[in-house]
Structure formats: C-alpha cells, structure tokens
C-alpha cells in the first residue's frame, strides 16, 4: 500500500517559490471536470431512477392485470357486481366510493383550508403566523392509522349520536342523509379524509398566496378596497390557478388514501345515495382483499383496480403541480406584510 501523498498542484515542482505562498491548493482542471461530470451524472441517474420506477410499476400493474383486462375489457369499469365466488368482477362500486368520498372530503376541506390559509397569510398577527402554520402542517405528519382510530373512537360515536340525527333532520330531504346511521360509512370517510386534506391544501394555498406580489395588495388598497376586498381582488384572484392546483393535489391524496378510509367506510361494495350508508373504495378493496385473493382472476382484477387508481392519481398530481407552478414560478417573495 502506498502512503497517501498530500495533493500537490501540478505546477508546484516547476515553481516552488511562487506556489509556496498559495494557501488554497489549486485543483487540477481534470479533477474538477471529473467531479463536475460525475455529479451531473449522479443527478441524471437519480432522475432517471424515479422515472424508471414509475415505468416499472406501471408495467407490473399492466402485466398483473392482463388476465382481468382480457376477460372483462371495458365491462370492468361499467359492471357493478363484485362477486369473487362466481368470478364476476365489476369495479363501479369502488370507483363510486372513491370519487364520492373524495368529493365529500373536498366539500368540507376546501373552505376550511382556504380559511386557514387566508387567516395565516393575511390576517393573523405575525407572531402567531409561524406557530399556526407549523401546527397545521403537523396534522399532515400524523399516520393515517391514528386518524382511523380517532375516527372509530370519537368521530363515529359523535356522528351516530349527534351529527347524524341533526343532518337527517335538516337535510334529510336531499336524500343524502337518510336511512340507519351506523356511524361508519361514506360520510365518516369523507370527514376523516377532509381532516387529512386540510394541512395539504392549506399549506400549499398559503405558499401560493405568499407568492402574490405585495404590489397587488397595495394596488387594491389604494383604490379604497377594504381588507376583505383587498384579499379578494388583490390576492385570491391572482392566486386562482395555484389554489385550484392545491385542491387538485388534495384530491389526489384523497383518491389514494387507504388506511383511515378502510377503517371507517364500512367496506360494502354497494352504491347507495345516502352518505350514512357503508361503501367501499378502490384503495380499501385492494388493501382488504389482496391477501385472500387466491384465484388468478380475482387477484388480476384487484391489480386492475390498482392500475386505474395509479393512472388517475398520477394524472391528477401532474395537473396539480402544473397549476401550482403556474402561480409560484418566478414571483419574488414579498418583504413584509
């Protein structure tokens, strides 16, 4: 083994006097070029890896679901019969459950999140701003199984005893709040999803609102806008696309959320108008039935549901990122206010 030599600049042997004074040794351009090159390569490699993983998952999903794809074709997405015993698989109840629970979640979470974001960026005292945003973001760090447990022990009893009957009484005529109130069901899943979405939607909305230039607020104020008018004309209007993106991103999260929903939605593949009734989602059916899907067609059908969920969430997320980026790109952060 050779002893490690201190790195000497190439020129030092030729000009020992001059080089003596140099404190920082000069790297040879070959070395620095190599470092640059390998760093670049590493970055590209990681980026390629991510893409490869996505492509690989997609391939596996397609391969795994080929049996069901061939057997049912488009009927898989129009049939509502899910009958593993007779080998009949239609995914409509799960698609319905996923869409409706996500929709309920958005209906509750969007106004709440916008309120939180507007309050934090525009109204609350600056001393509270940091701690409040931190607390809302902390909600996002809670594992979803904990949300599920909380829903079972707190939300479901509350729904069964107070909220459910009240809703049935006031909004029963809509047909959305009728029938027996088990506690678990579509509404419960929607509420728990909503709570999980608030930190996501509100923190991105907050970022988007902060990116709106301060001059826009001043322009509105100078026209004699009240504080709320200033927020509406000078801020929200400019942030529309980004807020929409935040909502779509939340939607993407809601579509794929599995654990908490599975714990409270009731897991019954039936389409019912009433939100009190149990339902089933795409993610929950995969989680629940994967281990018991012994025959190939059953397994393949579950994988096809996974494929559909994968494609939809990827598209939704790309759309969301694009919208958010369209607002936040290039806008300088405002100095104060």
């Amino acid at each position: 083994m050779s002893v490690a030599q201190p790195q000497q600049p190439m020129g030092s042997a030729l000009n020992p006097v001059g080089e003596h004074l140099r404190v920082v040794p000069r790297r040879s351009s070959v070395v620095s070029r190599f470092a640059d090159f390998s760093f670049q390569g590493l970055v590209w490699l990681s980026a390629a890896c991510v893409l490869a993983i996505v492509a690989f998952i997609l391939m596996q999903l397609i391969k795994g679901s080929s049996l069901s794809l061939h057997q049912f074709g488009w009927k898989f997405f129009t049939g509502s019969d899910w009958d593993p015993v007779n080998g009949n698989f239609g995914s409509v109840p799960f698609v319905y459950g996923t869409l409706v629970s996500s929709l309920v979640a958005l209906v509750i979470a969007v106004p709440l999140s916008l309120g939180v974001a507007i309050f934090i960026t525009e109204m609350c005292p600056r001393s509270l701003r940091g701690i409040l945003s931190y607390l809302t973001e902390l909600l996002a760090a809670i594992p979803s199984v904990i949300y599920g447990m909380w829903a079972i022990f707190v939300l479901i009893p509350l729904l069964r005893r107070y909220i459910g009957p009240a809703l049935a009484k006031t909004f029963g005529w809509t047909g959305l709040f009728t029938g027996p109130i088990y506690g678990g069901g579509m509404l419960t899943a929607g509420i728990i999803l909503a709570i999980m979405l608030v930190p996501i939607i509100s923190s991105i909305t907050r970022e988007v609102l902060t990116a709106v230039p301060h001059q826009q607020r001043e322009a509105a104020l100078a026209l004699g806008a009240t504080r709320w008018e200033m927020i509406r004309v000078g801020v929200l209007r400019n942030a529309r696309a980004g807020i929409f993106g935040a909502i779509i991103l939340g939607l993407g999260r809601a579509l794929g959320e599995t654990m908490a929903v599975t714990m409270v939605i009731g897991n019954r593949p039936k389409i019912t108008k009433s939100l009190f009734a149990p339902a089933y989602t795409m993610a929950s059916v995969i989680a629940n039935e994967f281990s018991e899907a012994t025959d190939d067609l059953y397994l393949s059908s579950l994988i096809e549901i996974g494929l559909a969920l994968f494609i939809v969430t990827i598209i939704v997320n790309i759309l969301a990122q694009f919208l958010i980026w369209s607002v936040t790109r290039g806008t300088p952060r405002r100095a104060n206010v």
Binding site: Q215, A219, A220, L221, A222, L223, A225, R237
Partner: protein, 253 residues
C-alpha cells in the same frame, strides 16, 4: 376639480423609527407639486401619509392633521377606505391586476364601490383611458387583453386610468416614471401636465428636470424633514436654504 391639501404637523413612524418630523405644507389645488430629496428622506412615506396608505405597513403609524377639502383625513371616525377612494395613488412600479382585462382594470375601483351600471361603466372607462392617453392604443382589445400584456409605459398609464376612474380629488404619484423608458416618461409627463386641469397632483421624483418640467411647486425633503417648499423656479434658481442649494447643485444626495 382638484382640491387643496393642508398638512399640519405631520409625523410618521415605522415602529420606533421616526420617518417624518412635523411636516407643514400647503398644497394648492389644480397644480402639480413635486417632492424631491435624497433616497430615504421620506418622500414615499410623505405621499403615503396623504392617503393613509402608510399605516398599511406593519407597525407603521402617523399623526397630525391633513385637511383635504372639508375633511381631516386623520380626524376621528374617518375611515381610511373612504380617504383612499377620494385620493388616488400611482406607484413606482406599474401594478395592473394581471388576471383582469384592460377594461376590468380600469373599472376595478368603481366595481369595488358597488357600481354596476354597464353603460355608465363603459363611459367612465373610456373617459379615464382617454385622460390617461391610452385609449387609442387599447380601444380595440379592451376586454380581450389582460392588463399585464401591455408594455411597462402602457401599464403605468393603465394604472393612472384606474386611479382616475374613481374620480378622486387628488392624484398622488410616487416616482411614476422611474421604471420607464424616455419616451414613456415624456408621455407620462405630458399627461401630468394635462391632469392638472382637473386634479391636484403630488408627484415624487428623483429627477430634478422632471420636477422642473411638470411642477409649479417643489418641496425639498431631507432626513424626514421638510427643508424648503416654494415655487419650483425659486427652488431651482435661488433656494433660501443652504442644504437645498447643495442638493440642487449636486453636492450631495
């Protein structure tokens, strides 16, 4: 018609830092008054006190008396929102609403006031754009183009139209041309000259030639104090105060 502004013992603070010290000034109606002085001397703070925009900064406050026509804008029970509707402001950097059409930009102030009459709105939008000398350039795509699609100089004239649309008594301008090219600048200067017929104009400028060109009166500020306020001619030829003279002749600032 413009109205005069009588400023008495106006003080302004940013937190603990006092940015304006006991300013007294009598601004004549239907004239342009230029505010000059070195950077950081309180020019912007002063004009922003004239429409109560100053206090929208965090921790900022102002005290004193600013009489505009029959109203002391710092008087008890006077809402800043009402003050700002009567005293328009144009900022250094053009700030049209990018998500609104040209038309909606001009109409924005009126719509905030609950003005909904379409025909009347059309009239006012046209009149405002004419007074800001932008009408001919944008009349064909009023509702098609966004306010942000115009050039910098056009954007600034759009902002002037937006301020004029609510028919203010006074127009405050904080370095309205400093972000613009020479041609746009001279357009804005011509415009100020015309606006004086109907409005009282207060214009902050770093450019002494500009002050000399557009304003009959000039106020020189230094370190938050009003040093000298007189006819522009007098300020630029025979100033009374040594500090004004030093600034005018470029010995500092």
């Amino acid at each position: 018609m413009g109205v005069g502004i009588k400023v008495e013992n106006l003080n302004a603070w940013f937190g603990k830092h006092q940015a304006l010290h006991g300013i007294n000034m009598d601004i004549l109606p239907n004239h342009a008054t230029a505010i000059i002085g070195p950077s950081g001397c309180g020019k912007s703070t002063f004009v922003r006190c004239l429409n109560r925009m100053h206090e929208t900064n965090p921790d900022a406050r102002a005290e004193g008396k600013v009489q505009v026509k029959d109203m002391n804008i710092y008087g008890e029970g006077v809402a800043p929102v009402d003050v700002r509707r009567r005293i328009g402001m144009v900022f250094q950097k053009p700030n049209p609403f990018p998500s609104m059409s040209i038309y909606d930009n001009v109409a924005a102030g009126l719509k905030l006031n609950g003005f909904r009459n379409r025909k009347k709105l059309d009239e006012i939008v046209e009149k405002s754009l004419r007074s800001s000398a932008l009408w001919d350039e944008v009349k064909d795509d009023l509702k098609k183009k966004s306010g942000a699609s115009l050039s910098g100089g056009q954007q600034q004239r759009l902002c002037i139209a937006r301020a004029l649309a609510v028919e203010p008594d006074v127009l405050l301008m904080d370095e309205p041309a400093s972000a613009l090219d020479p041609i746009s600048t001279s357009k804005i200067e011509d415009l100020i000259f015309e606006l004086k017929e109907n409005y009282t104009v207060v214009i902050v400028t770093h450019n002494m030639q500009q002050a000399a060109r557009v304003a009959e009166f000039t106020a020189f500020f230094l370190l938050g104090k009003l040093i000298e306020f007189d006819k522009t001619e007098k300020i630029f030829t025979t100033p009374t105060d040594k500090r004004t003279e030093d600034y005018i002749t470029g010995r500092f600032g």
